[in-house]
Structures are given as structure tokens and as C-alpha cells.
């Protein structure tokens, strides 16, 4: 009896725990005997909440902690905090992993009642719709040869918002159509009912069934609810997904759910990092956009599959040339009359835009630029390291190599630094190649912080850059200007994407 009391009153007990030391009722959470004792003394007093008690320790602590924090915070200048924030956005690992470039993604949106919550402005549903449109655009920009389909979990059913295709405009229009339907008979799909994870996974599995094996099969679920209303055993569905090599990642908006954790870890070979929770709008957007990066291919995927079904395959693709005609002719994809387009290399059907699968002979048609867009995922630019004042003095750099903006002056040396410097130099000399590699990897995977000298160094070419060039080169350009400006970058092994194409 007492035990069941505990579980029901779980929340209350936690309240009392805060008040605990003063009121002496924390014993309630401990032994049942203690509870009886406490009850005898406690019943007449009304339970006090944490913020009502004045000199309670629980409340006093934050104030002290705040004073400590203030000092640290004040020491860092505004400039440094700004740089810290910028650097955090850089990707943590830039090791060149093998990634799945050809992706087949099913995006599942939660259209249930909980999406009408107003913790995101104006409510979760509208925010999600807006971010999804941005996401689709960004996704096709980063992965031009991939395909996507959008589903929605609405009132226990799973509805098809758009079919599997590589055309971003279609998906954006379909998502818009949820709020503002184009045809007059349809009503806008307002969030209603409860979501069903099993239905969504089953429908996604069916859509991904026929996709070729050399591409990845992914499901990305945006989940805002706390329950899932399933018609059958969801674990069977999860087993089937694992068998079909489908990877699921979930972006949650409420609490962490056990079933979601299970789905993600089972389909990702034990890796739970694909399940993330967005606590506010900005984080939701960031997490969603983070999935545009192609996923890493795991070598220990499935030992039961035969090598013939392995990830790597040689795909036949066509590279059509553009035609401009005098007389309008029909295009094979929409049936419209157009004067220009591309002709399929195999069957000469005319299509309007690329990339596309030829409607008549099913050949993937691409431009070489579409392939080139994904190269920076395969050959990523390694992160640049922060430069300490000693190193800055050593290199004598006064301005950023690529934008010629001046760095802050190096302060004059003191003796202590010199000693440290000697020690460090000896250490680095004794390191072999392997140790250096390990150090680099370790540094790469640590979180990026601001540099004290406002300089950032590329390991390969030893040139110093400023924070803005760092951000620009890593987020947009994916090239190191220093390495590319020299024919043979001195010192260490060249590791950024200057691959020489043989031929």
C-alpha cells in the first residue's frame, strides 16, 4: 500500500525534497517507517513549495552559484563570447567517413492534437510546416540526387502528403497544401487525434521497399506527442524495418519516450544519437537541418545480407545535353508543350528539368554539377585549430591570409611562456605520425571554442585565418584557401579535399 502511494505521489515527493532540509519532510521519500513518522508531524502544516520558503538552502544555492559564474562571464569579453557562439556551429567531426550520398528519405510529420500546443510561436504545427519547407529546399541543395517523400500522422492514420520523388517544388507545394489547399473542395488538414508510429513506419517501409540497395533508406520523424496509437505490435514492425535496413531518426518536441529510443537504437545498430529533442524553435530548426548531412555508412550493418546486396554498386546514369527547339513539343514528364529541355541519353524522351528519372526508360538523368555538390561531404574540410599566443608569436602572422583583416597584436613574451614553449616543442617533435593523427582526430571531435589570439590555423598549410573566414570556409566554401594557394603545402600530410583525379 505504501509503495503504491509512493508511485502515485511521486511528484509530490519531489516537491518536498526541495523543501526537505528545512521542513524535515524529506524523510517521506525514504523508508515507509520514516513516512509514518513524518506524516504524524506533517499533516497539520500545509505543504510549502520551494519558492515560498525563504532561507531554504535549495533557493540559496543558485544565488551563490550565480556570483561565481558572474566573475567568469565578465572576464570573457563580448568579442570572445561572440566567437564562441560562432564556433559552436561548426561541425564536430570532419573525418572523411564513407557516407550514403544517394538517399531515399521519408519525412514523417506529426499532425496530431499535441501540435496545437503554443510553446512555439504561434503553435507547433505552423512552425513545423514552415521549417519543413525550408528543410526540403536545403535537403535538395545538399543532396541533389536523392529522393524524398512526405507522410503525415493524422488521427491515427498515416496520410501521404507527397510521393517519392526528387523534385523539391512538388514537396513544398504539397506541404503548403496542408495548410492552404489548392483545390476548393479540400479542407486544410488541421491537427487532430493521436499519431500512430506503427502505421507511419509500415507505410514508410512500403514506400522504401522498391528502392535500390545502393542508396540509403531513411525515415525522419518529427514527433511532438507523448503517445502512439498503434493497431498491432510495433515491435514486429521494428524488426521488419531492421530487416529492410531502414534507419530511423526522430526529432522530438516533448519529452523523451522509451519507444522512440527503442526504435532509433534498434534501427541504427545501437546508436541512440539519432534521437534528439528540440526544446525550442531554434533548436528544432537546427536539428532538422542537421539531418541534411548524409549519414555515415556503418560497416557492420547486417552480417546476414550477402555481399551482392552491399552498399557499393555501380549505377548507370545518363548525362543529357540541352536542346532548344523552334517548335514546341511535348515533354515526357508533365505532358506540357515546351520549346526546351533535356533529351534522355538512352531513349531520347524530353524532360523539363534535372535531376529526374526518365519517365520512359527509368534511367537516372543528371548533370555533372549535381554529383559535384556532394563532393564536400565525401572530402570534408578538416577543422581548423585555435592558435595560442606562443604559436602566433612563432608564426608572426599579422593578418588573415584570405581576407587581409588584421589580427590583434601579440603581447610581449614573458619568461614563463618560454619554458612552456620549450616543453611543448620537444613533445611535438617526439610524436610520430600516428600520434599526431590521433591528436588531430581528438582535437577534431572536441567542441570548438574561441581562440585566445583570434587566429585559427589550418594544420596542413599552417596559415592563419580569422573567425569569419573560418565560418565561411567550413560552412559554405569547403575549401582551404591556404592549402589551395600553395602547390605543395609544407609540413604535414595534406588532408583536405584536394583530390587529384587520375585520368
Amino acid at each position: 500500500m505504501a509503495d503504491s502511494d509512493y508511485s502515485i505521489d511521486g511528484e509530490d515527493a519531489s516537491d518536498d525534497e526541495y523543501v526537505g532540509p528545512k521542513a524535515g519532510s524529506s524523510t517521506r521519500a525514504q523508508a515507509s517507517s520514516g513516512k509514518r513518522k513524518a506524516q504524524a508531524t506533517e499533516i497539520p502544516k500545509p505543504r510549502k513549495l520551494a519558492w515560498e520558503t525563504e532561507p531554504s538552502e535549495a533557493v540559496a544555492n543558485p544565488v551563490e552559484a550565480a556570483e561565481e559564474i558572474d566573475e567568469e562571464v565578465l572576464e570573457k569579453s563580448v568579442q570572445e563570447r561572440e566567437e564562441d557562439r560562432k564556433r559552436k556551429r561548426l561541425r564536430k567531426d570532419t573525418k572523411p567517413f564513407q557516407r550514403g550520398i544517394i538517399r531515399h528519405v521519408v519525412l514523417v510529420l506529426d499532425l496530431s492534437e499535441t501540435m496545437l500546443e503554443r510553446d512555439m510561436r504561434p503553435n507547433r504545427y505552423i512552425t513545423m510546416i514552415r521549417y519543413t519547407q525550408e528543410y526540403v529546399r536545403e535537403f535538395f541543395e545538399q543532396n541533389p540526387i536523392s529522393q524524398m517523400s512526405v507522410l503525415g500522422m493524422h488521427d491515427g492514420l498515416c496520410i501521404r502528403v507527397s510521393e517519392l520523388s526528387g523534385n523539391p517544388a512538388e514537396h513544398i507545394a504539397a506541404i503548403q497544401g496542408l495548410r492552404f489547399p489548392r483545390s476548393l473542395q479540400d479542407l486544410p488538414k488541421e491537427p487532430k487525434g493521436s499519431p500512430s508510429l506503427q502505421n507511419a513506419l509500415e507505410l514508410a517501409r512500403a514506400m522504401l521497399y522498391h528502392t535500390p540497395s545502393h542508396g540509403t533508406r531513411e525515415v525522419i520523424i518529427v514527433f511532438g506527442s507523448l503517445i502512439s496509437l498503434d493497431p498491432g505490435d510495433i515491435h514486429q514492425t521494428i524488426k521488419a524495418c531492421v530487416r529492410d535496413r531502414i534507419r530511423v531518426s526522430i526529432v522530438g518536441m516533448s519529452a523523451r519516450l522509451r519507444i522512440c529510443q527503442e526504435i532509433v537504437s534498434r534501427t541504427n545498430a545501437g546508436d541512440e544519437s539519432e534521437y534528439v529533442i528540440a526544446t525550442d524553435q531554434e533548436l528544432l530548426r537546427e536539428l532538422l537541418l542537421a539531418t541534411t548531412t548524409p549519414p555515415v555508412i556503418r560497416s557492420t550493418e547486417d552480417t546476414t545480407t550477402t555481399p551482392a546486396e552491399s552498399a557499393a554498386a555501380l549505377m548507370m546514369m545518363g548525362f543529357p545535353s540541352r536542346v532548344v527547339e523552334d517548335v514546341p513539343t511535348m515533354c515526357a514528364c508533365h505532358g506540357n508543350l515546351t520549346t526546351g529541355g533535356y533529351t534522355c541519353s538512352r531513349c531520347s524522351a524530353k524532360v523539363c528539368s534535372l535531376p529526374v528519372t526518365c519517365p520512359s526508360c527509368q534511367l537516372t538523368l543528371l548533370l555533372s554539377t549535381h554529383l559535384a555538390r556532394s563532393y564536400h561531404h565525401l572530402f570534408p574540410l578538416r577543422n581548423w585549430v585555435e592558435v595560442s599566443w606562443e604559436r602566433a608569436r612563432e608564426r608572426g602572422s599579422r593578418e588573415c591570409v584570405s581576407c587581409l583583416s588584421t589580427f590583434p597584436e601579440v603581447p610581449p613574451e614573458d619568461v614563463d611562456d618560454e619554458e612552456m614553449q620549450d616543453g611543448e616543442r620537444l613533445q611535438s617533435k617526439m610524436d610520430g605520425d600516428a600520434a599526431r593523427q590521433r591528436r588531430m582526430d581528438k582535437e577534431d571531435s572536441e567542441e570548438q571554442k574561441a581562440s585566445e589570439s583570434a587566429r585559427y590555423e589550418c594544420r596542413a598549410c599552417e596559415s592563419h585565418f580569422c573567425i569569419d573566414c573560418d565560418m565561411f570556409c567550413h560552412l559554405v566554401l569547403h575549401n582551404c584557401p591556404g592549402c589551395l594557394s600553395m602547390l605543395n603545402p609544407a609540413s604535414e600530410v595534406q588532408e583536405n579535399g584536394d583530390v587529384v583525379m587520375t585520368g
Partner: protein, 372 residues
């Protein structure tokens, strides 16, 4: 328009056209210029370029320019002059006229407008320093130029200049945009328009493919047009660059008239280009070249791991040439959809035609109808 008093809400501050930044990448590949020296020596090209830069600076008060030389072994800043960095770099220069801290002394000249003189002096001095530091070994090492590096330098400089001009940090999204109701996109105030001009003489740039493609995508994203002036050599890569970013591509037939080409075709900036018809390359060939033979392919076979393109599906050991991974050929051998009735017809013909030509000759005297 404001409904109450019929005026626009914003007080109209004078809006002239925004200032414009021109980044010039000059390809100084010595091998290529040696070939060209009979028709167009490098000195006259630089003279024309200087007048062009002066014209650009004269076209607007806030206009800026940056010049980068893309040499065989280095990509170097010609203007603005970089300060000297570590002693090891500059020790190779012999007796340059620049003072120890890297500033250029500009002689007083009442005939020359001072800002023009500054640019000219820096450019010429830095360029002669670059040329004098080129050695035999550098020339022998490579026949092409480091255009990828020069482009990356130009793009980073432009990105930094744009940041300096706009008071709003374009990196941080406007907090108002988090409001899901505001459907309109918030563009940060960027009063600086920019473009890149590449004066190119080199031929094939195959080993720079990835860096140049990355630069092209970055320029596309930041809406920076890349103009190309091709004096010699032929690359499809640069044509793709100008086409993808919306820039001008010109290959003049009479390189002696370089200055007029520059003035008319490349001088108008983004504001002016809205009202003008700019020359373009016409149809650009976006087809790919295979990695094994470098011939242009219509249908290629792509490795799904490293995205390299091959012209035939039969590779030695079925291993990809660039990444070495084992590639299965199932996807490559998708047969064209076969018409089943034709096969049936073949079987009906007893001891008849050869299987190599399905549906070939009609048998004489056969009365079986043809299915379609």
C-alpha cells in the same frame, strides 16, 4: 503606402546604387602567356586591366577592387597589399622596394588621381615581386595554374567585405524570423554588391576540379556572379562557372582590343546589368567526362561511394579506380524493358533465326500475327 496620409512609411533616404566590389583573378601562368606573347603580351594586358580597374573605381564613390594573381606555384594577393608575415616568406625576395613593414611608397604625381595611383603602384610592385621570386623548379612542376586557390581567396575576401558593410550580422538569423507567422523572408541589409572577374589563359584544369566546383557552389549560394574573359585555352569548367552563377563569358576573337571588351562587356555592375543585355556563352555543355579516359560521356557508370564516373561498366576486379571499393554490377546492368511477345514469337519459329537479333526478320510465309 500608408492609408492615413498616403505617404510611404519610411523616410526616403537617398538611395543611389549600392557600392560594388570587383575581385579580379588574373591568371599569370607563365607557360600560357609565353604562347600568347606574339599577339598579346602580358604587359599590355596588365595596362588594359589597370585602366579597367580605374574605370570601375571611377564609376562609383564606394566602389572597391581586389586583385589576386593565380600563378603556377602560388596564388598571391596583388591588391590590397598583404602585410609581411613570417620572415621565411619574404626572405626570398631580392631587394624589393617595399619597406620592412610591407607598405608601398606612392610617388606624388599631380597628373594622376591618387586612389588610382595607389592601386597601380601596389599591383605593379607586388606583381614584379611575385615574378622575381619564381624559380625554374616552380615552372617545371606544373603546366597549369592554381585557380582554385585564387577563387577561394576572392570568395573569402568578398564574404568578409560584405560583413564589414552590412551593420547586421548576416550569420545570425533575425530573431523575428523565428516567428512562424512572418511568411516573408528577412534579408539582411547588404549594401555591397560584388562580382568576380577571371582573366584566364590556361587550358585544362582537371586537377582543380573539386576546389573549383566548391567555389562555384559557394558563389551560387552567395549570389556572386563569376565573369570569365578567356584569352586562350579552353575549359568547360569555367564556362560552367559563369553559367551557374549568372555571369558573363567572353572569348574575344581579337585579343588586341582587350580594353574595349572589358569596358563594354565587364564593367557594368549588378545594378546596371538589370537593364542591359549581357553577352553569354550560349549553350553550355554540362556533360561529364569519365575519369578513366577523360572523354565526354552521355551515359556513365557512377560509383555510389565516391561518385566517380566511368565510361564502361567493366572495371578490373570490379573495383572503383578512385576509392577502391568493390562494386556490384546489378544496378548497372538494368536491361532495357524487353517486349515479351517478341520473345514468344522467337520461340515459335522452329530452328529459325539467331537469338542475337530478337524480333529481326519476319519469317516468310508465316501466318502468325504479330503482337504488339
Amino acid at each position: 503606402m500608408n492609408g492615413i496620409d498616403g505617404t510611404d512609411r519610411q523616410v526616403k533616404t537617398d538611395e543611389g546604387p549600392p557600392p560594388s566590389l570587383l575581385a579580379v583573378v588574373l591568371d599569370t601562368n607563365p607557360h600560357a602567356w609565353a604562347h600568347l606573347s606574339s599577339t598579346l603580351p602580358l604587359s599590355s594586358c596588365i595596362a588594359a586591366l589597370l585602366i579597367f580597374i580605374n574605370a570601375h573605381l571611377a564609376s562609383g564613390n564606394g566602389n572597391e577592387v581586389a586583385v589576386i594573381a593565380s600563378h603556377s606555384h602560388r596564388a598571391e594577393w596583388l591588391y590590397p597589399t598583404p602585410h609581411t608575415t613570417s620572415p621565411s616568406h619574404r626572405s626570398k625576395l631580392n631587394g624589393s622596394t617595399s619597406s620592412p613593414n610591407g607598405t608601398i611608397k606612392i610617388p606624388e604625381n599631380p597628373n594622376k588621381y591618387r586612389p588610382f595611383a595607389t592601386v597601380e603602384q601596389s599591383l605593379l610592385q607586388n606583381f614584379s615581386a611575385l615574378l622575381s621570386s619564381t624559380k625554374e623548379a616552380h615552372l617545371a612542376a606544373t603546366p597549369t595554374t592554381l585557380i582554385g586557390g585564387a577563387l577561394s581567396l576572392a570568395l573569402s575576401y568578398i564574404a568578409k567585405s560584405v560583413l564589414r558593410h552590412s551593420p547586421v550580422d548576416t550569420g545570425i538569423e533575425n530573431p523575428l524570423s523565428a516567428l512562424a507567422d512572418s511568411e516573408s523572408s528577412h534579408t539582411a541589409r547588404v549594401p555591397l554588391t560584388s562580382r568576380i572577374l577571371i582573366v584566364s589563359v590556361s587550358g585544362d584544369l582537371a586537377n582543380q576540379y573539386i576546389p573549383v566546383m566548391n567555389s562555384i557552389f559557394a558563389a551560387q549560394r552567395k549570389r556572386i556572379p563569376i565573369d570569365i574573359l578567356k584569352l586562350a585555352g579552353d575549359t568547360v569548367l569555367l564556362q560552367q562557372a559563369s553559367d551557374a552563377t549568372g555571369g558573363v563569358y567572353m572569348k574575344p576573337e581579337q585579343p588586341e582590343g582587350l580594353l574595349q571588351y572589358l569596358m563594354m562587356g565587364f564593367l557594368p555592375d549588378a545594378t546596371a546589368r538589370r537593364s542591359l543585355v549581357m553577352p553569354s556563352a550560349g549553350g553550355v555543355d554540362f556533360r561529364a567526362a569519365c575519369f578513366c579516359h577523360r572523354k565526354v560521356v552521355d551515359i556513365g557508370f557512377v560509383c555510389s561511394v565516391c561518385l566517380s564516373i566511368f565510361c564502361e561498366p567493366n572495371l578490373p576486379d570490379n573495383l572503383c579506380l578512385t576509392c577502391g571499393s568493390y562494386l556490384s554490377l546489378r544496378a548497372a546492368q538494368t536491361a532495357t524493358p524487353a517486349l515479351i511477345p517478341r520473345k514468344k514469337k522467337k520461340k515459335k519459329r522452329a530452328g529459325g533465326g539467331d537469338s542475337a537479333t530478337p524480333g529481326g526478320s519476319t519469317p516468310a510465309g508465316s501466318s502468325t500475327p504479330m503482337h504488339l
